[in-house]
């Protein structure tokens, strides 16, 4: 994932939960976190438990997100060279010492970084099911408009053997006509959508969710069926060869075993090894849902 993309996503995330971005550098953001973001990112369950139970005003942290650690540190060093800090002031001691340190932390946000994963999983966990309404461009009083309800499901298709590849299918089905559209997600991009139903908009009768879901699954199944599955044949051949190797080996070992206990042990081992091979090589396609929503479009 590119740095620009990460920046973009993090910025949207911060804005969406009402965090306040204080400083925007070329390699970092510093933000005063909103309570929600603080809960998401700072691992302070105890603190938040305390705040909520005692009903006190929470103090959220200031968080610096670093997109390029090396560049960021260089920049910081340069800055500190240019402005020598005044170190000569005597540190207040004892009871004059400041009670509270500044609540500020920083963390790198390169691909794979822990805090980035945390942001991603928060976003994913809170963006699974939506229902949205298209807002009419012009408001004409007393004119009622019917809209079509579409079910959008974003499928992630994983082809798995000892390796894995992925694909995304964004499908939409019209719940009144049964029409199915691909790349549905991109169709939504330019639309003006609202979570509240606009006035004068009426919904049409729809087919049941389970029927619509079945239609989508069937559609996807047909799509997947005609894809290139050479990889799965190759994986299957590998699996067959591995199982063959185990069979030859364990047949001899089990055949040679005289002690019934040893024999039983060998047989168990053989079964375990076979299960491992299936686990490792067996080709399969797994379809998961990223998220889904109902879209009432004009």
């Amino acid at each position: 994932m590119k740095q620009e993309t990460i920046k973009n996503i993090v910025e949207k995330y911060l804005n969406e939960n009402n965090s306040h971005i204080i400083e925007k550098g070329s390699h970092h953001f510093t933000a005063k976190l909103s309570p929600q973001a603080d809960k998401d990112l700072t691992n302070r369950e105890y603190y938040w438990g305390f705040v909520e139970r005692c009903n006190v005003e929470p103090e959220t942290m200031t968080f610096t997100f670093i997109f390029d650690e090396q560049q960021y540190n260089e920049q910081k060093n340069m800055a500190s060279l240019e402005q020598p800090q005044q170190q000569n002031q005597p540190m207040p001691q004892g009871r004059f010492a400041p009670i509270r340190e500044k609540r500020a932390i920083e963390a790198p946000l390169h691909p794979g970084a822990e805090k980035l994963q945390k942001i991603f999983s928060t976003i994913k966990g809170n963006g699974k099911f939506v229902t949205m309404f298209e807002v009419p461009q012009q408001h004409v009083p007393y004119k009622e408009t019917y809209c079509n309800t579409w079910l959008n499901v974003n499928f992630k298709i994983e082809s798995i053997c000892d390796l894995k590849k992925e694909m995304i299918y964004s499908l939409g089905i019209c719940l009144s006509t049964g029409e199915i559209k691909e790349q549905f997600f991109s169709l939504l991009k330019d639309k003006d959508l609202s979570p509240k139903i606009p006035s004068n908009v009426l919904l049409k009768d729809t087919i049941s969710l389970s029927r619509a879901a079945k239609e989508l699954e069937h559609y996807l199944w047909n799509k997947v069926k005609v894809m290139d599955h050479e990889w799965s044949m190759e994986a299957h051949h590998r699996l067959t060869a591995e199982l063959q190797r185990l069979e030859t080996y364990y047949e001899i070992l089990i055949g040679q075993a005289v002690d019934p206990e040893v024999k039983e042990n060998m047989e168990r081992q053989y079964e375990d090894r076979k299960a491992e091979m299936m686990w490792q090589y067996e080709p399969r396609i797994v379809v998961n849902t990223i998220n889904c929503g109902l879209f009432h479009l004009l």
């Binding site: 976003i123 939506v130 390796l163 599955h229």
Partner: protein
């Protein structure tokens, strides 16, 4: 296992060998929300979630993802090649057998990271020697951003990525827990400890359930072909056939392979060995010098008397004790202190009225009369000559103590290093050696896991039977980060068992190079020692023929670690 956990799935056939499993959970949740009109999620997050998934999508099987996700290190070309071969050719089951110091940990880290990014590994177990647990955790955390933890409490086995010592893992109550888990990946460092099928280590690893498996060792074979067979069989049972077939196809004698080309090919399917010389890394040179010494008169007399004692005892006690008797000879060659400890213990074990006591006592008395130690004198000269930091390896604790004392007498600052020391003391000794002492004296156990790139001279005060242990010793100094050429001095004494050891070492090195691949130079090349002569040196008996056969057999089964 993942394939058993699909209660929520709906399975649709694609072709005979392929099914499509569809997640069903979303329908119920959505229906629920529709019935209660919410609560609905945030549409901005909905869009962002889709964007994240699109950006993170891995559209192809074989495009290395991990390189973009690691910070702070740039893997070397041979490390990247190794990772690719393990992923796409060996399918995640491999022996990583690079020479010491080429970064096997980095290779394993890359492979683990790639599988984790692709979601193929969630749960991994990493078993390493106790002294390396924290180092592994640190490297995985810092270099790869892999959230590994060091196992300290029992509940910690539940953590997705755990680093632990083999000794802990194989013991109850841990063992039972681990056998109940399914590991997406198992990594074992210093895997040559699994060379013996009968050990609890080997049996424990056999019983673990694992999908991918990496065995890391610079020395996949130490003494004979069976060790390599065991290691490969642990990784992929049947890859080299059953033991009978393997022997038939590839073994003439323990250290004599046949069909080497074919054997090597089979082994290369599961093992990768990068060599320093091929890695394009500017490794410094390794100069090896065998220093052959004549024992002083009184030392030689002691050696002869010990040999005579061995001969006499052997004729009374038979083969069983010969191995420990040969140890006596090796100890005489190391230092009088080493042989003294052993003899004294033998003496103490015997009943007070035992007739066996007096010959031992005579030897002990003779030890007392010995003034000089030829090897120690040579060592001292060497240290003075190089006038630089030196690490000395010896097999014997008593020789280590003696050397510490001896060198101190000659105003040379030295520190000991041995396996029995705890972590803190080891670190302290290493630090002292780096900053204050000129010499470190290490016993064999010191050979693993310490990095001494600041030192350029190694003295092997005595040699183990096993060339890989010599290689491990040298590897402490001659590794990535060493800036200067490294000088190695192998001390051995003429007309003693040590000549036989040298011969055996050469034989084992030859075997290793035939089957596994090249070894960097460990011993200075010497002419073929005449085995017959060496045997004569050990024991001269009337029944020479028989004894020679027996000793030759003994040589085959000799290995440094007790099985």
């Amino acid at each position: 296992m993942s394939s058993h956990n699909r209660s929520h799935d709906h399975t649709l056939p694609i072709h005979e060998q392929l099914n499509m499993h569809m997640d069903q959970g979303w329908k119920e949740t959505l229906q629920n929300k529709m019935d209660h009109n919410g609560p609905w999620d945030n549409y901005e997050y909905y869009k962002l979630a889709y964007e994240i998934e699109t950006e993170r999508l891995i559209p192809s099987f074989d495009d290395l993802q991990c390189l973009a996700q690691i910070q702070h290190i740039t893997p070397l070309p041979h490390q990247i090649d190794t990772a690719k071969r393990v992923l796409y050719e060996m399918r995640g089951r491999a022996i990583l057998a690079d020479e010491v110091g080429l970064g096997k940990t980095i290779e394993a880290g890359l492979i683990l990271k790639e599988y984790m990014i692709r979601g193929l590994v969630r749960k991994a177990l990493i078993l390493v020697p106790a002294s390396l647990v924290l180092q592994w955790v640190r490297e995985l955390n810092q270099k790869f951003g892999i959230p590994a933890v060091a196992q300290k409490k029992k509940y910690m086995w539940e953590h997705p990525i755990v680093v632990a010592s083999m000794d802990t893992a194989k013991r109850d109550p841990h063992k039972e827990m681990l056998l109940g888990m399914n590991y997406d990946m198992l990594i074992i460092d210093e895997a040559h400890k699994l060379k013996n099928k009968k050990t609890t280590n080997y049996q424990f690893i056999t019983q673990l359930t694992k999908k991918y498996c990496l065995l890391l060792t610079a020395t996949p074979m130490q003494n004979d072909l069976k060790e390599l067979y065991n290691l490969v069989t642990l990784l992929k049972p049947g890859h080299l056939g059953a033991l009978g077939n393997f022997k038939q196809n590839f073994v003439v004698d323990k250290r004599q392979p046949k069909n080497e080309t074919e054997l090597k090919q089979e082994i290369q399917k599961v093992m990768i060995r990068n060599l320093r010389s091929e890695s394009n890394i500017p490794f410094t040179k390794r100069n090896v010098q065998n220093i052959t010494l004549d024992l002083s008169k009184d030392e030689q007399a002691l050696y002869d008397n010990v040999t005579k004692y061995i001969k006499d005892t052997y004729q009374q006690a038979g083969m069983k004790s010969l191995l420990s008797l040969v140890t006596l000879q090796r100890e005489v060659c190391s230092s009088r202190d080493a042989v003294f400890v052993t003899l004294f213990n033998m003496f103490k074990k015997l009943r007070e009225d035992s007739p066996l006591r007096s010959p031992i006592w005579e030897l002990i008395l003779q030890i007392k009369s010995i003034e000089s130690n030829t090897k120690a004198d040579t060592t001292l000269d060497l240290i003075k000559k190089v006038n630089d930091k030196v690490i000395i390896f010896t097999e014997y604790r008593a020789s280590q103590e003696y050397l510490l004392h001896f060198l101190k007498e000659h105003q040379i600052i030295c520190v000991p290093y041995r396996g029995g020391m705890n972590r803190g003391k080891k670190d302290w000794m290493m630090d002292l050696f780096k900053r204050r002492a000129q010499v470190m004296i290490a016993t064999e156990a010191g050979g693993e896991g310490i990095n001494l790139q600041f030192c350029h001279h190694v003295i092997n005060f005595d040699l183990p039977w096993n060339p890989m242990r010599v290689e491990q010793r040298i590897g402490r100094v001659h590794r990535l980060g060493q800036a200067q050429d490294v000088n190695i001095y192998n001390l051995s004494t003429k007309n003693t068992i040590e000549e036989h050891i040298l011969h055996l070492l050469h034989e084992k090195i030859n075997l290793f190079e035939k089957v596994v691949g090249n070894l960097d130079v460990i011993l200075e090349k010497v002419g073929n020692p005449l085995e017959k002569e060496i045997m004569n040196l050990i024991v001269k008996t009337n029944d020479e023929q028989e004894l020679r056969a027996k000793i030759s057999k003994l040589g085959d089964s000799l290995s440094p670690a007790p099985h």
